[in-house]
C-alpha cells in the first residue's frame, strides 16, 4: 500500500504538471481562499491581543465601584450622579473583606493647568497613593506621592506624558518644576510612563494626579468631605474577583442601609467585565472575517470539484483500462482523491505564504496589528486538505463507480 500511495502521488503530480495552466487556475482558488483566511484571522487575532493589552493597562484584578444614579422627584440622574461613596466606605471595605489586597479612591475634575507661558486643559485626579499602586502606574522619572503628602495635603503632582508634551518644552525635565493648578503652585514630583489608549479608547496619559486631600480641600472645593468619584480595589487572584464583588455589594448595602426592595446606589465593574465586552467584540470580528474568507475557500473547493469532474470524463477510458488490469474501486477513488488533495495542498501552502505576506502588508500599510499564530497556519493547512477531500469525494466516487465495460468502451 505505501508503494501504491507514493506512486499515486507521483502520478498525480505528473498529471497536474501536464496541464499546468488548468492546475494553476484551479489552485489559484485555494491560494486565494487560504490566503484570505490567514490574513483575515491574523487581523482578528491582532485586534484581540491589542484589546487584551489595553485591558491589562488597567492594572491586575481590578474592581471599580462607581456611585449609582440619583432619583430626584422621578428624574433620574446619570451614573455617578449621586454622592454615595466615601473614603469611609473604602476603609471599611478594606477592613471587612480580606480578599481585597488593596483599596484606593479618587475624584476628578477637568481644570486649566499652567506652566510658564503654556497652559493645558486636563483632567486633575485627586487620589490615594494606593490608587496609583492598584492601577500599576510606573514612572519615567521621579515617583509617586506618599501617605504623608496626603496627610499634610501637600501641593505635589504626578503628571502623564500628554501633559508633559503640552506643558513642557522638549528636553525640559518636569520633575522639580512648579506648575499651577487653579492658580495654586504644585511641585511636579513624578512623570508617569505612558499607557496609551484605554480599553474604551481614551488617552490614559492625559492625566495629572495630586493627593486626594489636597484635591478636595484646596482645589475642587467639595460639598461633602470624604465623598469620592470612584473606589478602586484589587484582589490577589483573578478567581477572587467574583466573591469579592459579592462581598463588596453586601457590605455596601449594609453600610448604606438599603432595604431589600431598594436598588443598589452604586455600580460595581471588574476588569474581567470590561475586558469581556471588548474581547467579545473582537471575537465577533474574527469570526466574521473568517466566515467571509471561508467563502472564497468554498469557491476554490468548487473549482477543484469542477476540474476533477472534467478530468474524470476525459479519462473515463483510462479508468476502464485501470479497472480491467485489476484496479479496485478504492484504488480509483484514492487516485482521484489524491489528485484533489495534491491541488488543494499545493494551493494551501502557497496560500499560507500569500496570507502571511498579506498580513505583513496590511500591518505596514494600514497599521493594523496582525498576529499569525502557528494555530492559524495549521488550521488553514488542515482546512485546505479538508476542502480537497470534501470536494474531491464526489468526482472520485463517480470515477470509482464507473462500470469497467462502459468505461472501456467510452470514446
Amino acid at each position: 500500500m505505501p508503494t501504491f500511495i507514493f506512486l499515486t502521488i507521483w502520478t498525480a503530480v505528473r498529471i497536474l504538471g501536464r496541464n499546468r495552466l488548468r492546475a494553476g487556475l484551479t489552485m489559484l482558488g485555494i491560494v486565494i481562499g487560504v490566503g484570505a483566511v490567514i490574513a483575515m484571522v491574523s487581523i482578528g487575532e491582532g485586534a484581540k491581543v491589542a484589546v487584551a493589552q489595553r485591558v491589562a493597562t488597567m492594572g491586575t484584578n481590578v474592581i471599580i465601584i462607581f456611585p449609582g444614579a440619583t432619583t430626584t422627584g422621578g428624574v433620574r440622574g446619570g451614573q455617578g450622579g449621586a454622592v454615595t461613596l466615601t473614603v469611609a466606605d473604602g476603609l471599611d471595605l478594606k477592613k471587612r473583606i480580606p480578599l481585597l489586597r488593596d483599596i484606593g479612591w479618587g475624584k476628578r475634575d477637568v481644570m486649566q493647568i499652567v506652566n510658564g507661558n503654556k497652559n493645558w486643559n486636563g483632567p486633575v485626579n485627586g487620589v490615594s497613593p494606593s490608587y496609583l499602586m492598584i492601577r500599576e502606574w510606573s514612572y519615567t522619572s521621579g515617583g509617586p506621592f506618599t501617605q504623608q503628602d496626603v496627610d499634610t495635603a501637600a501641593r505635589v503632582a504626578v503628571v502623564g506624558q500628554t501633559i508633559v508634551e503640552n506643558l513642557f518644552d522638549a528636553g525640559e525635565e518636569p520633575v522639580g518644576s512648579v506648575i499651577r493648578i487653579k492658580n495654586m503652585p504644585f511641585r511636579v514630583i513624578g512623570v508617569l510612563a505612558p499607557k496609551g489608549q484605554s480599553a474604551q479608547g481614551s488617552d490614559q496619559d492625559d492625566i495629572i494626579f495630586i493627593p486626594f486631600t489636597t484635591a478636595e480641600r484646596k482645589v475642587f472645593g467639595t460639598q461633602f468631605l470624604g465623598s469620592v468619584g470612584a473606589l478602586f480595589a484589587s484582589t490577589e487572584r483573578p478567581e477572587d474577583l467574583a466573591p469579592a464583588v459579592e462581598q463588596i455589594r453586601e457590605t455596601l448595602r449594609l453600610r448604606h442601609r438599603l432595604q431589600p426592595e431598594q436598588e443598589n446606589d452604586f455600580i460595581i465593574r471588574t476588569q474581567v467585565d470590561i475586558g469581556k465586552v471588548q474581547e467579545e467584540t473582537s471575537e465577533t470580528l474574527t469570526v466574521m472575517l473568517f466566515a467571509i474568507a471561508s467563502v472564497s475557500l468554498l469557491v476554490g473547493g468548487i473549482g477543484i470539484m469542477n476540474i476533477l469532474l472534467v478530468s474524470v470524463t476525459e479519462r473515463t477510458k483510462e479508468i476502464g483500462v485501470r479497472m480491467a488490469v485489476g484496479a479496485k474501486r478504492r484504488h480509483i477513488l484514492t487516485q482521484f482523491l489524491i489528485e484533489a488533495m495534491t491541488i488543494s495542498l499545493m494551493g494551501g501552502c502557497l496560500g499560507i505564504v500569500f496570507g502571511v505576506l498579506g498580513a505583513r502588508v496590511m500591518t505596514v500599510i494600514a497599521g493594523w496589528p496582525t498576529i499569525i499564530s502557528p494555530n492559524t497556519v495549521a488550521t488553514a493547512f488542515v482546512f485546505s486538505l479538508g476542502v480537497g477531500l470534501f470536494f474531491g469525494l464526489y468526482p472520485a466516487n463517480k470515477a470509482a463507480r464507473l462500470n469497467p465495460i462502459d468505461a472501456l468502451r467510452y470514446e
Partner: protein, 239 residues
C-alpha cells in the same frame, strides 16, 4: 483434468429502455488449460458479451462460470478485480495504453495494483517488454511507438502479471498485415512455447486460423465448435 473455463447455461439479459435484449441464451462452453481458441461471430451475436463475462468485467444474469474452479458469478466487484489482476491478461483492439505514460509504466500497471515494490515492478515489466521484442523502448511514450509496437506493449502489460488466461479482443483490428502477423506470431509463441491459454475474438478468418479451435457464436449460443489444428498448421505459411 479440470477445465480452465467452464460455462454452464449462461444467460445475459440487458434492458435498453423498454426493450429486453437477450445477449446470451443459455450458452455452454468448456476450455482446457493451454488451448488457443478463436471465437467468431457476427456483430450482435453475443461474442462481446461472452468476452466480457469470460474476462470477469461483467457477470451473467443467470448461469454459472467457473474459472480455475472458482465460481465467478458469485463474486463481488473487488474480488473480480483481484481475479482480473492475477489471472487474466487483456489485449484490446485499440491497444488502450494509458496516454503520456511510458511503455515501462504501462507494462507495470497490473503490478501497481498488487502492492509490489517499485523495484520489482520495474524488473518484471522490463522482462515482459523484452519478451515481446521491445527491449530498449521502455522509456518511449505511446505516441512515439507504431501501432504494432503499442499492441506489443499491451501484450507485455497482459503478461507481466503471469495470468493463466489471455483474452485478445480483435488484437489486429487496427493493424496492417505485417504488424498483424508479428502480433499473431507473439501470441502463437506464448501458446505453443509457454502453454498460455489464449482466447481470441476476431472476424477475420486468416487471424482465426492461428487458433487450434474455432467457436462460432450466433444468437447467444454456440453454433459450431470445431478443432482446426490441421488447418492452423497450413494456413500461416500459405497466407
Amino acid at each position: 483434468m479440470a477445465a480452465l473455463i467452464q460455462c454452464q447455461d449462461l444467460w445475459k439479459i440487458y434492458r435498453l429502455g423498454d426493450v429486453e435484449v437477450q445477449a446470451l441464451r443459455g450458452l455452454n462452453l468448456s476450455i482446457e488449460q493451454g488451448e488457443f481458441v478463436a471465437i467468431m461471430g457476427a456483430s450482435g451475436s453475443g461474442k462481446s458479451t461472452l468476452m466480457n463475462i469470460l474476462g470477469c468485467l461483467d457477470q451473467p444474469t443467470t448461469g454459472r462460470y467457473w474459472l480455475n474452479g472458482v465460481d465467478v458469478a458469485a463474486l463481488r466487484s473487488d474480488q473480480l478485480a483481484e481475479i482480473r489482476n492475477r489471472q487474466i491478461g487483456f489485449v484490446f483492439q485499440s491497444f488502450n495504453l494509458i496516454p503520456r505514460t511510458s511503455a515501462l509504466e504501462n507494462a507495470q500497471l497490473p503490478l501497481f495494483y498488487r502492492g509490489v515494490s517499485l523495484r520489482e515492478q520495474r524488473a518484471l515489466a522490463t522482462d515482459a517488454l523484452s519478451r515481446v521484442g521491445l527491449k530498449g523502448r521502455e522509456g518511449h511514450y505511446p505516441t512515439q511507438l507504431s501501432g504494432g509496437q503499442q499492441q506489443r506493449v499491451a501484450i507485455a502489460r497482459a503478461l507481466v502479471a503471469g495470468p493463466s488466461l489471455l483474452l485478445a479482443d480483435e488484437p489486429t483490428g487496427n493493424l496492417d498485415t505485417e504488424s498483424s502477423r508479428e502480433i499473431m506470431a507473439i501470441l502463437d509463441g506464448l501458446n505453443k512455447e509457454q502453454g498460455m491459454t489464449i482466447i481470441l475474438v476476431t472476424h477475420e478468418t486468416d487471424i482465426a486460423a492461428y487458433a487450434d479451435r474455432e467457436i462460432v457464436i450466433k444468437d447467444g449460443r454456440v453454433q459450431s465448435d470445431r478443432n482446426t489444428q490441421a488447418v492452423a498448421r497450413l494456413s500461416p505459411s500459405g497466407a
